[in-house]
Amino acid sequence: MKKNNWLNSGFQLGAVILALLFTSGVLLIAGAPPFQAYLYIIKGTFSSVANISNVLTAWAPLLLTTSGVLITFAAGLWNIGIEGQIMVGAVFTTGALRLLQNSPLSPGWILVIGFLAGALGGALWASLAGVLKTFGGVNEIFGGLGLNFVATAFALYLIIGPWKRPGIASTSGTLIFPDRLWLPTLPKVAFSPWALGLGILIVILVYFLLRGTQFGLRLKAVGRNAKAAFLMGVPTWQYSMFAFVLCGIFAGLAGAIQVTSVYHRLTPAISSGYGFLALMVAMLINYQAVWAAPVALFFAALNIGGIQLPIVLKLDSSLSGVLQGILVLFVLLVEGARQRLFKKR
């Protein structure tokens, strides 16, 4: 067993090296020195307090969304709709803040209500995908994809419609909230320990939920064989719905963080792709919650580190995305190869 673990680690290391080699090839074709590019990514991540703060800021919502998809994956569901769930969460948070910003409530309470509203929004949007799946027979991938478009369109409508900035309507977003409605940060940086605390709390929660509870075990049973789970007395569709709603809540909270701690307003790209990124993280860690935090941190670092590239190397900042995607692909590929190799024996 021990030996097998080492072997597996070896395979995964191999996958990472392959991914780096492949990305290097892409960089060479684009006419950029690969080594330097990687160096800039690392520099962009760790070279200053501001950079580190940015990485941690990106880490928080990614932790939440990763936790969410770990739940839906456990239930055997591809919650592609998580992007829309973040979006609707952000919309609900923005709505709550707009409603309450001139009320006599203290900013702390307004923020709490904003987060609750975000969770509610995400849960509602997720339960829509769940209802489509359970009662409409619509595969959650298609349902989620469709709902993502609807969510984006809805946010865009609000931004250039009812919630437009006084005077001008711009797709760059709504009016920035007064800074008393910003999630409190550490002095002089954008990083909010509150956001990160929430993210870490949820990751730990999900880890224990999946590992040590009846709920987690039943969820896994439903995900792997719904028919058998049903015969064993698990209410299957209810558990699928639970998974959707739970994931939606986490996604909605991620949306709330994006509004209150990152953008301080609603923008059409408020999700920052953290939903899709979370799917990649979950696949990369083979759905093991214990690895969620470090790998999410690594992906957050890649995201932030990549921001430097356009300026210094005239490369598009999407290089980080390329690297992330290729990494996931190679890890899955190597895992598939490993399984084939060992099955034959």
Binding site: Q214, L217, A221, R224, K227, A228, A229, L231, P235
Partner: protein, 497 residues
């Protein structure tokens, strides 16, 4: 050896399993012991072979009263028993098994034993390779080995408990020939069965037990109708059922109608007793699976009522049925029964009554180990279910069932399993029956249907026969019915609507 049982009594709690039974069997006789399941046959045989002690009564061997304390004691006194589930040692060679149980002496005298073995085997025409491993033998061959061993140990009385279970027709012929030969040599044979066909074809005389009492005796030529009347307390012709249950009715279907997109099963009436086994026979897709799933609450009935233990469950869903003690084991074990990727511990925890929110893994693991031992599953608590063999998967499924069940529904309980697993699984199922669980099972194996059922329903393109007594059926008759021939005219039959 003459065997005489005088006024044998045995009670288990409130059940009077043997109530003053008197039988006198002269040497050289094949004595049939006939009776339906639970009539007290096995208890009587276990008393004679020393497995259990009677509460009262006497056993005389050749006129001398004896006390039989244990099976080893029994064989010393010349009484051997051949169990339904051969009690041998699979990882050993035939000859090693043969030598086992021989009293005294560390020196086994290999050559001598081998000579004896070959001589005995030759005498009965058994083709057994003494060097073969026992687990490579069929159940029939293992029986042969056991017979030889008992003779060699000096048995002069031999008890056969349902010996035709799980052996081929060819092996049955061999077995019967051997038994006749043994009888001619002066051996006293007790042949326990609930199959009329076998008893009539073999036995010199028959006693019939019912509910612990010796009801009557018969000699050839047998009148089947008379034997059936003795077994069930009333005359039964094909299509009739005995008057009510000995215990209470656990499941009652009243004009139940089921349908799916291609088939309609019209008004079926059925009363199932506690501890009863009902076989559902028919070609694949004749409606029996539909029927079974309806009784499990997985398929909504379109008419009539389903009453389980006094509760009307008509139209309720599977979870309600399950709460009322119904369990369903599907034919496709890995597709519907078990969750691939999860290990046995996780399965046991899933199947147990939920206690609390958090899982106590240690407790779960111990419970799983317990079940693995009890059900003889070859695996560990950490084994994923797909790593188990088919037989072990089926055992695992049985191990997952709740302790107390009112009704157990099975699709092809032993399909694809070897005979050892088949017998093992049926023994476990019978244990459940003794605790009052009624069993309905679908099978395409006619032997299995006849062997294990008390009553049989035959399905033919959505039509259902009334419950038929398994004891009155033969494979030929059953085969005809399955093929749509010879259907009884009855009010219970599916009428065109």
């Amino acid at each position: 050896m003459n065997v005489e049982l005088i006024d044998i009594h045995k009670t288990f709690g409130a059940v009077h399993a043997n109530a003053g039974i008197n039988i006198k069997i002269p040497a050289g006789t094949i004595q049939g012991i006939l009776g339906e399941n639970g009539a007290g046959k096995s208890t009587l045989m276990k008393i004679l072979s020393g497995f259990i002690q009677p509460d009262g009564g006497e056993i005389l061997l050749d006129g001398h009263p004896v006390l039989i304390h244990s099976p080893a004691d029994a064989i010393r006194q010349g009484v051997g028993m051949l169990h339904q589930d051969p009690l041998d040692f699979p990882p050993m060679r035939v000859i090693e098994n043969f030598t086992l149980g021989r009293p005294g002496g560390l020196l086994t005298g290999q050559a001598e034993v081998l000579r004896d073995f070959k001589q005995l085997a030759g005498q009965f025409g058994f083709l057994l390779d003494p060097e073969a491993y026992v687990d490579s033998l069929t159940v029939g061959e293992r029986q042969q080995l056991e017979i030889l061993r008992l003779i060699w140990l000096g048995a002069r009385v031999m008890i056969f408990d349902e010996p035709t279970t799980g052996i081929s027709a060819q092996q049955k012929v061999h077995l019967f020939n051997a038994l006749r030969l043994l009888a001619r040599q002066g051996m006293t044979l007790l042949f326990v069965s609930h199959k009329l066909e076998d008893v009539e074809g073999l036995c010199d005389r028959v006693v019939v037990l019912r509910q612990g009492h010796l009801i009557g005796e018969a000699k050839p030529p047998y009148i089947t109708r008379q034997l059936v009347t003795m077994m069930f307390g009333k005359e039964i012709t094909l299509g009739e059922r005995p008057a009510g249950c000995a215990s209470d009715v656990i499941l009652s279907l009243r004009k139940m109608e089921v349908e799916d997109y291609r088939m309609h099963i019209d008004e079926t009436n059925l009363e199932v007793c506690r501890g009863e086994v009902i076989g559902l026979a028919g070609m694949e897709g004749s409606g029996q699976n539909l029927f079974l799933r309806a009784v499990a609450g997985m398929l909504r009935t379109v008419g009539g009522r389903v009453v389980l233990d006094g509760h009307d469950l008509t139209g309720r869903n599977y979870h309600i049925y399950k709460q009322n003690g119904v369990a369903f084991l599907p034919a496709s074990r890995l597709e519907e029964g078990l969750v691939t990727g999860l290990n046995l511990t996780e399965h046991v925890i899933l199947a147990e009554e939920t206690t609390g929110f958090f899982i106590n893994w240690e407790k779960g693991r111990l419970l799983t180990q317990e079940r693995i031992t009890e059900f003889n599953v070859k695996g560990t608590p950490a084994n994923t279910v797909e790593s188990l063999s088919g037989g072990n998967q089926q055992r695992a499924l049985l191990a997952l069932l709740r302790r107390q069940l009112a009704l157990l529904l099975l699709e092809h309980p032993t399909r694809g399993l070897d005979i050892e697993s088949t017998i093992y699984i049926w023994n476990k199922l019978k244990e459940r029956c003794q605790k009052g669980t009624a069993i309905l099972f679908v099978s395409t194996d006619l032997e299995e249907i006849l062997q294990y059922s008390d009553r049989v329903l035959v399905f033919f393109s959505g039509k259902v026969t009334p419950p038929l007594e398994a004891a009155t059926l033969t494979t030929e008759k059953l085969g005809e019915l399955i093929g749509g021939k010879g259907w009884p005219e009855s009010k219970n039959e599916g009428k065109p609507s």
